[in-house]
């Protein structure tokens, strides 16, 4: 390494002089040497914009500038903006332009520059100006609105009664969010993994001598060092599954390109990466299993030889005679296929862990990017052998996750184990390449279905054959979620007969994990196929849905799989969307534009049903909350959640404040610390509002019972007469008589200095809390280039009582954009040898501001039969959009006889569909139904 150089610059107005290695990027200099951690790194290839800073008056990407290049420069970071960015910061806060906050400092920097260049930007200007700042959470809606509002406060939609601004924002806007990469205790060592570049094969040589000899390298671990010391690495729900064991590092075989082979510990991350390059590895490649379809039958090539088959799970529900007859003899029988490509969660913050083990106390402390701190604690304890009582997991801010971080990954657990072995503090921050090739993939599903209909287009029955690619091994409970797709396939429709076959297979690819609606395929496949059915029977897809969707008077409705559907509004949301889109008018315009200008417009509709807050899946079916009254009368809520942008610190405070009738500002939420919070489910599976919210309610009820009794004593009235009222406990009959929460807290603390008024609340969810939504959109397809432009996007949704309308809309908008990405752009790809081709955010194309449509919302609030009347809604947006956008494009294509049955609908696929259609024949007129 070349010697260090002196650099002088001004950072946030202050002169700075430092010695740096010429290799140090400006981002690392700011983060590591100056401890200015607002500036984030999410790709290090110039794509994400999270590292945006201002240098000599222009924004630059600090990952692409060397610290030595900033010689003499004036550099500003989000920490230095203070008042300067105030209007934009305030607007981001007011418009909910922030979720996880990982992108926020970059947005502040670039947004500020944009407003300086264009004081009155149009919406298009804003989108163009922010196209280099990726946000995976918000769908950009709140961000674009915030910039517009900052430019012209009069244009701001203004805060709505039901949507208080988020409490998380203040620290995130000031650059004081604490993500795992911001945690750097003194003496931290850095970890890098050596990973297989081969999909399947036998390791014949692994020589670590040169890496160990590199100056600054502390340790190099291989399978021989760590595997014998590791406990069970599987997540809690899979502990008893009969599975080949999962071990920290590949020992003799590799099963996917990206699988970890060795782990290097060194003084800094550049050194660790250099040492990884010095490890010599030879793998004798074997032909990989890549195609899930072929893998089922293949007994020669096996991902795990000892299993005898690549089939991982199979579940068949019997086709009863009535259904068989319908599928054979119904007046109309239609077969349809739907294929989803491999996708990646790609949260802006990758995975990461900082783990320290103190041999003297026997304690292991881990900061983790996780949705589920308590599960992480249990898993770390199992793997490292440190008793659970001596493991503490913390996670303050999580930069997005979408299911990826719900079960603690093999890599994080391996690092924790290595920390235990070394007795040191180890830090591993996943690179974007690792994130896209080795963290988890999702959505690799194929569905083939048969629908039987009568002459009027009423569905008599259906059968789904569902094949899921589980990768080298399943992460978390996804393997169990698979059959769920078949269970809920008939969704919000009156389909009396249904059966399914579910199979999942192992392949030599990155493991399959949870991604925003692990059972989204039920909605995606069904809604895509219904449009195919509509085309086949010559009926408008809206009309087909109208004839089959369940109306309000048909509820509760028992699905053929015996699940009971109730408190949902599919028919209403369908009509809302049809009305908002002005459906008949769109159809007329579509025909006119084709006839007169040859343009291809398409309209798509999809009804989604989200089985949220599932109460049948331990341990995520229940939660616990603890409430404590502090001496100053404020309330602290201790929750097991691990929120990554869902605004849990805000919404749960709202719930508690409402139950206790105290000011929102009097409630503080503490989460993300297993020492402070009771055991619980974490944040995931659209369960927070219903399950955690109900636990908060239960705790509040318990607290009130205690408080009423204390207050009754104080006031000298019976407890039944006491009620909480605007921040105090008051006598119902004498409005003047009241006692404050602070006084009650003091009364209790009189029993002993540590005594507090506190209560624990528990809640176990009912089997299913359904929420529903209907999505509608209009697209135009460029007939010659195959590109797709979304003209309009409407969502009518029913998530029960909304706690915070803007949090709801933010969740939906973020989900919709991920769905649009999945429908049009995003695809994880491998070459024929199973080597990953999409290794960065340049190749794995997540949507920018320019692909994000403005979304129009309609809210219907039908309470669920749970304590707050809420329903989960974190995941449905993605499923709805995947199907809705697909349907719109397929609808456009059908006018010229072109067909598609798989995503992503990229230009080449669309043009191929045109070519296969051959003739540019106009859309076939509605044919009279005929048996096929």
């Amino acid at each position: 390494m070349a010697e260090r150089m002196t650099v002088e610059m001004k950072v946030n107005g202050r002169p700075v002089r430092a010695e740096v290695s010429p290799r140090t990027s400006l981002a690392d200099f700011l983060r590591e040497e100056r401890r200015l951690t607002a500036t984030q790194l999410a790709c290090e290839e110039g794509v994400c914009g999270a590292c945006t800073v201002s240098m000599d008056g222009a924004t630059v990407l600090s990952c692409l500038v060397l610290a030595v290049q900033a010689e003499g420069a004036e550099v500003w970071t989000a920490e230095g903006l203070d008042g300067a960015a105030a209007p934009l910061a305030e607007a981001l806060h007011a418009e909910h332009g922030i979720q996880c906050g990982y992108c926020t400092p970059g947005i502040l920097m670039r947004g500020g520059e944009l407003l300086k260049e264009q004081p009155a930007p149009s919406e298009r200007d804003i989108r163009l100006g922010l196209c280099g700042n990726l946000c995976r959470c918000t769908g950009y809606a709140g961000i674009v609105e915030a910039v517009a509002a900052a430019a012209d406060p009069a244009a701001a939609p203004g805060e709505r009664g039901a949507a208080p601004a988020r409490r998380e924002d203040e620290r995130l806007l000031a650059g004081r969010g604490e993500f795992v990469n911001d945690v750097s205790p003194p003496g931290t060592l850095h970890v890098a993994f050596l990973r297989s570049t081969v999909a399947a094969g036998r390791i014949t040589r692994l020589e670590t001598g040169a890496a160990r000899a590199l100056e600054g390298v502390v340790a190099v671990f291989t399978a021989a060092d760590l595997n014998p010391r590791a406990g069970d690495m599987r997540p809690t729900p899979l502990l008893n599954a009969a599975e080949p064991p999962l071990l920290p590092l590949a020992a003799d075989r590799v099963r996917f390109a990206g699988e970890p082979l060795a782990l290097v510990v060194a003084g800094d991350r550049y050194l660790a990466a250099d040492a990884v390059d010095l490890i010599e590895v030879e793998i004798e490649p074997e032909p990989p299993v890549l195609d899930p379809g072929g893998a089922v039958e293949d007994t020669d090539r096996l991902v795990y030889a000892e299993t005898g088959s690549n089939l991982y799970q199979e579940l068949t529900s019997p086709i009863r005679p009535k259904l068989r007859r319908a599928l054979e003899d119904a007046p109309q029988v239609v077969r349809a296929t739907s294929r989803q490509q491999r996708q990646a969660n790609a949260p802006l913050e990758t995975r990461g862990v900082v783990a320290s083990y103190d041999p003297d106390t026997g304690e292991l402390v881990a900061s983790l990017s996780t949705q589920n701190p308590h599960e992480a604690k249990l898993a770390i304890s199992r793997v490292s052998g440190v008793p659970a009582e001596q493991v503490r997991v913390t996670a303050r801010d999580v930069g997005g996750s979408f299911g990826l971080k719900v079960w603690t990954g093999r890599d994080e657990l391996t690092v924790a184990l290595a920390a235990r072995v070394l007795g040191r503090t180890l830090k591993w921050i996943e690179t974007r390449q690792e994130n896209l090739t080795a963290s988890g993939h999702a959505r690799m599903d194929v569905g083939e279905a048969t629908f039987a209909l009568d002459e009027q287009g009423r569905i008599l029955g259906c059968h789904l054959d569902h094949l899921e690619d589980t990768g080298a091994y399943p992460l978390g409970v996804v393997g169990k979620a698979g059959p769920f797709v078949g269970m809920v396939f008939t969704g919000p429709y009156r389909i009396p007969l249904h059966a399914f076959r579910f199979r999942s297979v192992r392949t030599n690819t990155c493991p399959r994990g949870a991604y925003r609606g692990p059972w989204a395929f039920a909605t995606v496949a069904r809604e895509q196929m219904l449009d195919e059915v509509a085309r086949a029977v010559g009926m408008d897809p809206l009309e087909l849905r109208r004839r089959n969707v369940l109306g309000p008077d048909e509820l509760p409705y028992t699905m053929p799989t015996r699940l009971v559907l109730d408190h949902v509004t599919p028919a209403q949301t369908l009509e809302e969307v049809a009305a908002r889109l002005d459906y008949p008018e769109v159809r007329l315009r579509q025909r006119r534009l084709l006839a007169e200008e040859g343009r291809l417009i398409g309209v798509g509709i999809a009804i989604g049903l989200e089985p949220s807050s599932i109460g049948t899946m331990q341990p995520i079916d229940r939660d616990t909350a603890r409430l404590r009254v502090e001496l100053d009368g404020t309330i602290t809520a201790y929750l097991a959640t691990g929120a990554g942008g869902q605004g849990v610190e805000t919404t749960m405070a709202q719930v508690v404040a409402a139950e206790l009738d105290v000011d929102l500002d009097a409630v503080r939420v503490v989460q993300g610390d297993t020492d402070a919070t009771p055991y619980g489910r974490g944040t995931g599976a659209s369960g927070t509002a219903v399950i955690t919210g109900s636990a908060c309610r239960a705790a509040a009820a318990e607290l009130l019972t205690m408080a009423k009794e204390l207050a009754a004593e104080h006031l000298g009235v019976p407890a039944e007469r006491v009620e909480p009222r605007r921040g105090v406990l008051a006598d119902r009959q004498d409005p003047g008589a009241a006692v404050s929460w602070a006084e009650l807290a003091k009364t209790v603390s009189a029993h002993g200095p540590g005594e507090r008024l506190e209560a624990l609340g528990r809640y176990k969810a009912p089997p299913m809390t359904w929420s529903n939504a209907c999505h509608g959109c209009v697209v135009e397809v460029d007939r010659e280039l195959g590109t797709v432009r979304i003209e309009r996007y409407v969502v009518a949704e029913d998530c029960g009582r909304m706690i915070n309308a803007k949090v709801v809309e933010g969740q939906i908008a973020g989900g919709v954009l991920q769905g649009i990405g999945g429908a049009l752009l995003e695809e994880v790809r491998y070459d024929a040898q199973g080597r990953p081709l999409t290794r960065g955010l340049a190749e794995y194309a997540v949507p920018t501001t320019l692909e994000a449509p403005a979304i129009e919302f309609v809210h219907i609030e039908t309470p669920s039969p749970t304590p707050g009347g809420h329903k989960g809604m974190g995941q449905g947006g993605a499923a709805g959009a995947l199907a809705c956008v697909f349907n719109a494009v397929a609808d456009a294509l059908a006018q010229v006889g072109a067909r598609v049955d798989r995503t992503p609908l990229d230009p080449a696929r669309i043009l191929t569909a045109f070519a296969e259609a051959g003739s540019r024949s106009p859309r076939p007129a509605a044919r009279p139904p005929s048996p096929s």
Binding site: M5, P22, T848
Partner: protein, 286 residues
């Protein structure tokens, strides 16, 4: 990795002569990505940012003055300051990366990288630019058509640096078109530029991302020079525009890669060329 920081152009040339292995770095939007992704760390970096004169542009002398765009002129400044004279190049520059990339990235960096997908190349080819290369041995002007030697290879010698690019001001409407996998921050799947010279009644073309190097579509240019009704009013004859598109596509030699398939590239080029001609011609009328 050594870091060399010349203060003047002469210093830079001397350092490059002494260290031909040194990689010049301007905006760093290509160089730094390679370093970060460990696609080979250079033994030395030669930072040209301190050489202040490189960030200036001027007019060349002579009967047909050209714009001399210094190696340090960023895309952002090129768009703002030179867009009036170089509309095709400015249009292409607007599609490069994102505002942050354009604040730092340069046209000369695009030439240094010589990626077949670089967006600067088609408009430079279409307008017949010259690359001003210099070393301690002297200066030479390389016609743009002779500059690209292969995938990510250009005509520079080991001791040479690019000081500027000379670009003729537009002599008629120009147009740039690009398709990518998304609308921003995307390397072109393929791109095309056309520049009409209304006085000389010629058209220049440039194709990007559809051959090992950026290239002109000579046959398409000759076809336009001969067949286009240069005095005609109204839109271009659709048949002529289609033929032009076909000739452009025929000039390409695309491959399959992670961004796109060869057949899609060829097809899209024909469409883009036809449309770009139509748009450029329409601009002439207003």
């Amino acid at each position: 990795m050594d870091f060399l920081r010349p203060a003047t152009w002469e210093d830079a040339l001397a350092m490059k002569a002494a260290r031909p292995d040194a990689t010049p770095i301007q905006g760093g939007t290509d160089v730094m990505v390679e370093i970060n992704l460990d696609k080979g760390r250079p033994t030395a970096l030669l930072d040209l940012n301190p050489v202040a004169e490189l960030s200036r542009w001027s007019w060349t002398a002579g009967p047909a003055p050209m714009l001399r765009v210094g190696a340090g002129v960023t895309y952002t400044r090129l768009i703002a300051e030179l867009g009036g004279w170089l509309p095709g190049l400015a249009q292409a520059s607007r599609t490069v990366g994102s505002p942050q990339i354009r604040n730092r990235g340069t046209l000369v960096g695009n030439l240094g990288a010589a990626s077949p997908a670089g967006d600067g190349h088609p408009p430079l080819l279409a307008s017949g630019a010259l690359v001003e290369a210099e070393s301690v041995r002297g200066t030479r002007l390389i016609p743009i058509g002779e500059f690209y030697m292969g995938v990510k290879r250009n005509a520079l010698e080991g001791d040479e640096l690019i000081r500027a690019v000379h670009v003729p001001p537009a002599a008629g409407p120009q147009c740039f078109a690009k398709v990518g996998t998304r609308n921003a921050m995307v390397i072109a799947v393929c791109s095309f530029a056309v520049a009409l010279d209304l006085r000389a009644r010629r058209a220049g073309t440039g194709i990007g991302s559809a051959a090992p190097t950026p290239r002109r579509a000579h046959a398409a240019e000759e076809f336009l020079a001969g067949e286009l009704d240069w005095d005609g009013a109204g839109p271009v004859d659709p048949a002529l525009a289609r033929r032009f598109g076909e000739l452009v596509a025929e000039a390409a030699a695309p491959i399959d890669d992670v961004r796109g398939r060869a057949d899609y590239r060829r097809h899209a080029l024909a469409v883009m060329a036809r449309r770009a001609l139509g748009w450029a011609w329409a601009e002439r009328e207003v």
